[in-house]
Symmetry: C3
Subunit: 352 residues, 3 copies
Amino acid sequence: MTYVRNCWYVACWSADITEKPFAAHILSERIVLYRAPSGALVALEDRCVHRNAPLSVGRCEGANIRCLYHGLLFDADGRCIEIPGQDLIPEKARIRKYPVADKHDWIWVWMGDPAKAEENLIPPVAGLQHPEWLLGHGHIDIAGEARLMCDNLLDFTHLSYVHAAGFAASDAWARSRPKFTQLPNGVRSERWVVGDKGMRTREDAAPIDGWQSYDLLLPGILIMWNGFYEAGTAAKMNMGAPDPALTSFDVSLTCQAITPLKEKQTRYFWTWGPRKGPADEAVLAALMSIADEAFGEDRAIVEAQQRVLDDRPDAPIMPTNSDQGVLMYNRFVAELVRDEQSGSASPIRATA
Amino acid sequence: MTYVRNCWYVACWSADITEKPFAAHILSERIVLYRAPSGALVALEDRCVHRNAPLSVGRCEGANIRCLYHGLLFDADGRCIEIPGQDLIPEKARIRKYPVADKHDWIWVWMGDPAKAEENLIPPVAGLQHPEWLLGHGHIDIAGEARLMCDNLLDFTHLSYVHAAGFAASDAWARSRPKFTQLPNGVRSERWVVGDKGMRTREDAAPIDGWQSYDLLLPGILIMWNGFYEAGTAAKMNMGAPDPALTSFDVSLTCQAITPLKEKQTRYFWTWGPRKGPADEAVLAALMSIADEAFGEDRAIVEAQQRVLDDRPDAPIMPTNSDQGVLMYNRFVAELVRDEQSGSASPIRATA
Amino acid sequence: MTYVRNCWYVACWSADITEKPFAAHILSERIVLYRAPSGALVALEDRCVHRNAPLSVGRCEGANIRCLYHGLLFDADGRCIEIPGQDLIPEKARIRKYPVADKHDWIWVWMGDPAKAEENLIPPVAGLQHPEWLLGHGHIDIAGEARLMCDNLLDFTHLSYVHAAGFAASDAWARSRPKFTQLPNGVRSERWVVGDKGMRTREDAAPIDGWQSYDLLLPGILIMWNGFYEAGTAAKMNMGAPDPALTSFDVSLTCQAITPLKEKQTRYFWTWGPRKGPADEAVLAALMSIADEAFGEDRAIVEAQQRVLDDRPDAPIMPTNSDQGVLMYNRFVAELVRDEQSGSASPIRATA
């Protein structure tokens, strides 16, 4: 697995973390998470120094966590502070502590150099209680490599084929190309899909113009805005971003996080929902139904792709015109990984 | 896996192939099969050149097949003929096309050099509508290496032990030895089993003489004829093949195909049935019941053998007198594989 | 797996072995066990010399066993004595014979040099019909390396944490340290736990003194004696072994055997019960209920530990004061293994 380490990975939902240990896997590392009575988050290597029992089957005691094999107690910094029946505690009796943050209803863990962990590098996703958006949420596990899901999100040609049912996406998505822009911490995609059918739930057959803009940010965080406008709007805007003052319908925001649990095991978190308004609960229910179907379609194709790669790990790929975003993002990741591994990593900036 | 490539492998039953994609594995290669509206069979590498999604989860469009990840379209020759949103199609955008034939109710795929694929090399098995034989059929999957099933079919000593129940085979099968003859594309076994009990369904205790003749042809195709005659017939024939004019009873024909799907995964196809006659439906029903039991017995012993080999891949073998056919066939296969791999392969001829 | 070979491993319960073949795994070797009509035990390599079918799916014929693939017959010494349809039997047609013994209701198999197998090296465990003890029994399979279970039994600090529920063990077990003594074939642990709560079933809250003495003998045989005495007894004995004449209550004996089936697969056999007396059946029932819960707790922690090691096979350990027995036993095992592998092995003596 080749992933950037100096960035924030989504471990779970904020609500998952209580004063009981929670076991997470990120980049094949075992991490135990819990909340101290003060509310402070703790993220530690999930491995007792004594005989490698996982602390996540242990017990929180205040801000500390006790291994329930032979009773060693660790503080929130990962230092062993008690060995039953032993007075002296060796200096080396400590486990790795991970920078961790609770923001926007996700728990974020920094997998790289702790000195570089800054909370303002957490992507500006919308939390579940966002004043502007009414968001539903979910997550699914995918038996495939996380980078395949990033590729999936960077080439929306697949909407017309993978999601012909789930999103009722027309061929327009495959024929049109978004404009990709390199960001300091990812890539941005913007486009009009002219003469689209709109959301699956729309009954009117008259074509409309759809505006879609998303950022895919390290290490696999999607923030995407979709809005539909009356036909002709794209041209009126000279194919540029729609004027915020324009009347739009079926506007939605989705934030998604792709977390590599282990090799070929990915957890895919998502929120999605309409702008708050009069009919929003019914719209949200419709979107959630679409989401269940569509994320299942993504999982099916990515897992099928993974099985082919399992049989032929060296199978070549042949990029097409639709891979502009995939290539831009993957080149960016490859450079960062190379820099990190050579020790010349420069800090990644938050999106301006 | 060491198997001859320049021969026809059974992929599935003819009826399995429709205008929807069918996924097959042969020799660890993924193959997608479908029928064009013209009825023509298509067998292609089951892998899109773009990002390795399997075409078998795609969609047939006339004689073509579309990848349902990003929409690339391939023709029946494996050439990519459409990339959504892209005008130029690179010459290298093509996948492997396999020679394929629909014959005798089986779909045959040629895994070697396409230039050497000739339909007359397909073994002369009997199809389900054969005028002379009333054939039932089935297939089972075996969690074992395909060559172990070939070995099984080449040493019928096992009838007395593995099939003491299923075929009610007597010790006579273990004590007698068939005559093996090398064929241009396999080996032939012929023998009388003198003083046999006959089929399991036979109630008469008086011994009879059984004649069994089979060819095991590349890459694991069995064509076997069994007939029982009144006691003394073997001697009357000087142990040679029975005179076709002789009255026989319980005559049956079975055709079988052993296909290596992947390493240690084998699909075993079979047809079996009596010569058409007055009581044939009842006889067929009895044979099908025997078949279910007996092929299950073969699977059990071969899977048990495979588990021992999994634990000790280097375990030696010790051939016995009963291995004459096994040795003849495996030596033949080893020579062909060596020739194929060295590039000096000479074409295999059909049985005269 | 690094285990001593020149010792007796428990394969199964005596009652498991009949005149039908029984398949066992020890140290990743396949062994077939059966009883000859004379009652004599037979333990052979579970692999036919012909084509590696397992003999355990074969058939016992008197003191012999027949492979039910092609009918080879082996005698109780592992010599092939019949090959159907073949007169000459090669000298090399033999399989390994293991020394085997039926003692104290366990079947013991010697995995090392047969010349060194002496029955008096079988540890003096108590059989199910022991005159002094009323013993229940059971076994469980653990998806973990056998040495992890030996480590578990050599550091009873874990009682206070793993078995806080199952045994209701107090912190006293973690705070006190037993005295370990090297034995010719293992290690001995002895200790008083002063001011203990006693068995889980005890209702009286007044503290009592517990005496625990156990031997862990090669290759993972535990013989453990637990007894509780009125408070003050430990001091009265100057922390030495209790006077047998003293009145004790809740006395129990447990014998346990840890058998490495395969890498990361362990079978854990145990007997446990009270000294025979008036109320013993009720006490035994209570102990069996505790046993089910407690052995499940051991399995859970050892399997969790194994999963961490699977992810990080090179993870360091950090011994503590509580590891005295673990280190003593493992050093002893490592020396024996080194001697065995260098060919300089001296015989292991039975416990004096």
